[in-house]
């Protein structure tokens, strides 16, 4: 393949290289990976290649270190998979700080981290928070360079599974796919500006950690966590523990001692609107 372009994606102390044979790939990349300022020394750990085959039908093909790992005729499904593979490579090899499976939000130059595994409704909750005026950074990764409280969030579109439309349709205009809304077969990629036009990215110190749990028809259960409970929850969302000295346990407890952690179970946004505003109004 003759390369028509390349891009380096840097995050969490690592970098991946993307090469492609068609300028049309630029548009896909622009729609899934937003520029992040990287102040760390990044190691190149993977080489992706993207090819667009035109004949007989247009097909997008993804290669990792020369092995084909995915292909699709749907450019949005392809974009989602590419995003997932890039994220995995960056996360799997990260070793110079703590990398959490978490959403990153901001308010008045302070960071709000929302850790949570798959299926906890993290992205849906994050989209709602953006609609309430908080800055969106990421719905997937938050990274703390070693011994810092500075949130480096992986800036990308909100990746919302199709059922979340049921609860977000009053906040997001799903009727006009375009630059800010990419509709895949099973999920949507949403630019935060579709929800909040003056959203901006920064890397603030973490000020609050929220652990939301969506549970249909439940009453609101709100719990201020002790530092030990916060540490326990954080350990379960630390992606790169195996790469870190002491599995990151010391760093986790350092963070948990300093930062307020709150866990809540909810079934509707109306239940949590006031308590969250009450916490954040002190900023």
């Amino acid at each position: 393949m003759k390369s028509k372009g390349k891009r380096i994606i840097q995050y969490a102390g690592n970098a991946v290289r993307l090469e492609y044979n068609d300028p049309a790939v630029e548009e896909i990349l622009d729609s899934i990976i937003y520029p992040i300022h990287s102040s760390t020394i990044d190691k190149l750990i993977a080489h992706f290649r993207i090819e667009i085959k035109k004949d007989p039908d247009q097909e997008y093909q993804l290669f990792l270190d020369n092995s084909q790992i995915f292909k699709s005729k749907n450019n949005i499904d392809f974009a989602e998979m590419l995003l997932s593979k890039v994220c995995y490579q960056l996360a799997f090899n990260s070793q110079d700080g703590m990398l959490f499976h978490a959403a990153g939000l901001g308010h008045k130059d302070n960071g709000i981290m929302v850790p949570g595994g798959i299926g906890f409704g993290k992205s849906t909750f994050t989209a709602w928070m953006v609609s309430q005026g908080y800055d969106y950074f990421s719905d997937e990764f938050v990274y703390f360079p070693w011994e810092t409280d500075e949130m480096h969030s992986f800036n990308r579109p909100l990746h919302l599974k199709r059922p979340s439309r049921n609860v977000l349709s009053h906040l997001i205009d799903y009727d006009t796919p375009g630059e800010l809304l990419k509709v895949g077969s099973h999920s949507d990629l949403i630019h935060p500006n579709l929800i909040r036009t003056d959203n901006h990215y920064y890397q603030p110190p973490v000020w609050l950690i929220l652990f939301p749990r969506y549970q249909a028809e439940s009453a609101l259960q709100w719990k201020e966590l002790t530092p030990a409970e916060t540490g326990l929850e954080l350990m379960q969302c630390l992606i790169n523990a195996r790469n870190l000295p002491g599995h990151g346990f010391g760093e986790i407890t350092r963070l948990a001692r300093k930062i307020r952690g709150i866990q809540f179970t909810y079934s509707s946004f109306e239940q949590i609107e006031k308590p969250i505003k009450d916490i954040l109004k002190s900023l």
Binding site: T226, G231, L232, G246, F249, R257
Partner: protein, 89 residues
């Protein structure tokens, strides 16, 4: 159970956070959260005291807790054992 003498597994790293503990075993990556009561019981797992001794000591110290202490101790010891945090001699 009452005659058994629990001994802490030294592989676990401990972080005291206020009156609670987090225990982490880097070998198994197992992590345990201990509330105030469980933290006290953990500190008594020295391989010298039996479970019966622990119940007696805690009943003396916290008479208001009364009958629930025996069950709390036994449940907590069972949790420690299940997670490999202690051995029982």
């Amino acid at each position: 159970m009452e005659d058994k003498k629990p001994l802490r597994n030294q592989d676990f790293r401990l972080e005291k956070m206020d009156d609670e503990l987090l225990l982490f075993n880097p070998k198994s990556t197992n992590i345990l959260y201990l509330n105030e009561t469980a933290s006290l019981i953990w500190q008594l797992c020295d391989g010298q005291r039996s479970v019966h001794d622990m119940v007696s000591l805690l009943t003396e110290t916290f008479p208001e807790a009364g009958a629930s202490i025996k069950k709390d101790v036994e449940d907590t010891i069972a949790l420690f054992k299940k997670n490999g945090a202690i051995s029982l001699a």
